[in-house]
């Protein structure tokens, strides 16, 4: 009897030992955002991501009931840090469990090409809109595991040029100038833009590189004035930084009748805070609904994802959400949240297909046709080219107003177009 009991215990023990690792197999994902560094203190990315992931793991249904183990790193706007973090996680976690990774900077995509696409073969979502990586020359054929969460810079610039062509009222060809940043993505999309401008009969009168270390922009603005530019596309800069404020404030004085324009990262709420009135009238293209008015209560809640982000922030971080709190720009919070949601969607689809592996997640992403929980106001996108090809054009309306004893900028960037699918647009 005693012997049989011992045998039973041994069998149960062996069975447990075999089954335990399988039962404890985790779903691990790594996300990296620039939450500090030269672009500023941007904890909102992390806040949105953490709130999104916690919601997914509690009320949001997880991955068909399974929880996601998520890791969040601040890559400090430094490609080296992003690469090092990724290498560390690859070394520490098994391929069976570590299923997806996200990054946020073009500069890190390049050194990781081999590691992500050949060695690890892990689906990688990125905040980079690099035309070189995600455009015709790159794309899924060349970088099968890279996915961008927006339209390429080339497409963004072309949308702006198309807007100029359609809205130019003065006689003669529209005179366009580019101000680009001296970064890995500063000239990205420019060749496509120049070719498109030529095709559309727009005259490109200047291309100026404006350094991050600039303390004044007089030379650059004088050069633009000399070139008689009518439209200036400021491309490849963060709207939150000091040099952007310097450029816009100087340009407003020297280039009085010039239409200032820009790509995704120069559009939004942060530039209103930093550039103030100099940002008024700016026209920019963006791949997200930049609905975060100043004051915040004036934000329209018509977009379901915007509504969701604001409700989350209000619920989980009421103090940070208040005006003057840590959430200075809800776009960044929403960005963190959208990363969490697309990760959940891809993992859930892979799991439903019975392929909760890196390859399964890749397949789920490649075949994804999704409305991104209403992010594009009902429009769906497909991920076959590894970019979310949706953009909208916004115009900034900014006014200085007295709030309490302080003169503060008020206003918002407001949509002046519908959501445009760059894969379907008639160029």
């Amino acid at each position: 009897m005693r012997k049989r009991g011992l045998q039973l215990v041994a069998v149960v023990g062996v069975l447990l030992a075999i089954s335990l690792p399988a039962a404890s197999k985790e779903i691990k994902v790594l996300s990296q955002f620039p939450m500090s560094g030269p672009v500023g203190t941007l904890p909102e990315f992390g806040m949105g991501y953490i709130d999104g992931m916690n919601w997914i793991n509690s009320e949001g249904g997880g991955v068909n009931g399974k929880k996601i183990t998520f890791f969040l790193e601040d890559m400090r706007y430094d490609p080296t840090v992003e690469v090092a973090n990724f290498n560390k996680y690859c070394a520490e976690h098994s391929r069976d469990e570590f299923l997806m990774a996200t990054g946020y900077i073009t500069g890190a995509l390049k050194p990781l090409i081999e590691k992500v696409n050949v060695e690890e073969k892990i689906p990688w979502l990125d905040g980079s809109y690099s035309t070189e990586i995600f455009g015709i020359e790159g794309g899924p054929a060349k970088y099968p595991y890279y996915y961008s969460l927006g339209a390429t810079y080339g497409d963004q610039i072309k949308v702006l040029l198309k807007w100029i062509k359609e809205n130019h009222k003065k006689p003669g060809k529209p005179k366009v100038a580019f101000v680009v940043s001296p970064t890995a993505w500063g000239r990205d999309g420019l060749p496509e833009g120049l070719e498109y401008a030529k095709e559309k009969g727009l005259e490109v009168v200047a291309q100026i590189e404006y350094p991050y270390t600039a303390t004044d922009a007089t030379n650059e603005c004088m050069a633009l004035r000399k070139a008689k530019a009518e439209y200036v596309i400021y491309h490849g800069y963060s709207g939150a930084t000091s040099h952007t404020a310097i450029f816009f404030k100087t340009a407003k004085k020297i280039l009085k009748d010039v239409q200032l324009m820009g790509t995704h990262y120069t559009t939004g709420r942060f530039p209103i805070l930093v550039c103030q009135e100099a940002y008024d009238g700016y026209v920019g293209v963006a791949s997200r609904p930049f609905c975060d008015a100043i004051p915040r209560e004036k934000t329209p809640m018509t977009n379901p994802m915007v509504k969701m982000a604001h409700e989350f922030a209000k619920k989980y971080r009421p103090e940070d959400y208040k005006e003057g709190g840590k959430i200075k720009d809800m776009f960044l919070y929403m960005e963190g949240l959208t990363y969490a949601l697309i990760i959940q969607e891809a993992l859930t689809r892979a799991d439903k297909a019975g392929q909760l592996t890196r390859e399964g997640v890749k397949k789920a992403l490649d075949e994804m046709v999704w409305d991104f929980k209403g992010l594009f106001e009902g429009k769906k996108f497909d991920y076959r080219f590894h970019t979310i090809p949706m953009v909208q054009i916004f115009k900034a309306e900014v006014k200085m107003q007295k709030v309490g004893d302080k003169e503060v900028p008020t206003g918002a960037v407001k949509p002046i177009s519908d959501w445009i699918n760059v894969n379907e647009i008639k160029w």
């Binding site: 500023g40 001296p182 350094p211 303390t215 030379n219 004088m222 000091s242 450029f247 100087t250």
Partner: protein, 293 residues
């Protein structure tokens, strides 16, 4: 016309650099130490003013004087804690201390004010000059005026007051000054405070071009070619060095960068510095020292 625009733009910016240079030269003359924390002093001074003017809403003059006073007090505390214990030792030790101080202060600024930009616009009377195709923005003109006036006041203080005489005496020889009854330790505190106030003015003037962030401290690096071109121990050299560096940047920005050498404006002052040092190792106006070895 265009060349006039470049020249005057360069001179206007150069005046701010000259003030930065003056801040370095004063400390060097008094203690033979190079203050590498100049950029951090600049940012701290500008932030102190920012709090008084934008947050506490004090009138401009009160906020300016208050900001300069607080910057001076801050520098006095720094001097007392980090430099005075090293008095009488090799000046290299003091210079190295300022390197560490720069890192420490940069971290403190980020901790207190964060890394994001603060919009910075002083509502001063518009002094924009527009002559034909030339335009000189009000911010540039104000920066130059503020810097020029401060430079002049400091010169008056140094050359027309008893304190100024004491400072110059201490700069010549600490030991001899002490023998004449001058409190050299106190003089050093005064010099550091005065230097910090000058640097703060430069910080406020530069921030008024658009915004203030901890990265504004990068401007501090411009002080290096300014003082080395002008001469480390020459107040007049700081003025000349500032104007030369300002002109150098303006010319390179207007004529060389458009040829495809983007970013060369930031490097050009250092190339100029190397050329000057090859011909005059002590700078254009620095004292030539002959040392026996």
């Amino acid at each position: 016309m265009e060349i006039l625009q470049v020249i005057f733009s360069g001179l206007l910016t150069g005046m701010v650099y000259a003030l930065l240079g003056l801040g370095i030269v004063m400390i060097f003359k008094a203690s033979e130490a190079f203050n590498f924390a100049v950029g951090e002093f600049l940012v701290i001074g500008a932030f102190l003013f920012f709090i008084l003017f934008f947050d506490l809403k004090l009138p401009f003059i009160v906020a300016l004087l208050g900001g300069l006073g607080l910057s001076g007090l801050f520098a006095a505390a720094v001097e007392r804690l980090t430099i005075q214990p090293l008095l009488g030792r090799n000046p290299i030790s003091m210079t190295i201390i300022t390197l560490g101080l720069a890192s420490f202060l940069r971290a403190i600024v980020q901790l207190v004010f964060g890394a994001h930009s603060y919009s910075f616009s002083l509502d001063l009377p518009d002094l924009t000059l527009e002559i034909g195709d030339m335009i000189f923005l009000s911010e540039q003109v104000w920066a130059s005026l503020l810097s020029g006036c401060t430079f002049g006041l400091v010169m008056l203080f140094l050359f027309r007051t008893r304190w100024g005489v004491a400072i110059r005496a201490t700069s010549e020889s600490q030991a001899k000054a002490m023998a004449y009854g001058i409190n050299a330790r106190l003089i050093l505190v005064v010099v550091w405070s005065l230097s910090a106030a000058c640097i703060a003015i430069a910080g406020i003037a530069i921030s008024n071009f658009g915004s203030l962030t901890y990265l504004t401290a990068m401007v501090g690096f411009r002080a290096i070619p300014v003082v080395l071109v002008g001469g480390m121990d020459s107040i007049g050299g700081a003025l000349a060095g500032g104007l030369i560096v300002g002109l150098c940047e303006a010319f390179v920005g207007a004529y060389i960068e458009p040829m495809g050498l983007i970013g060369f404006k930031n490097v050009a002052p250092y190339i100029l510095l190397l050329l000057v040092l090859l011909v005059r190792p002590y700078g254009l106006f620095g004292t030539v020292r002959i040392e026996r070895v």
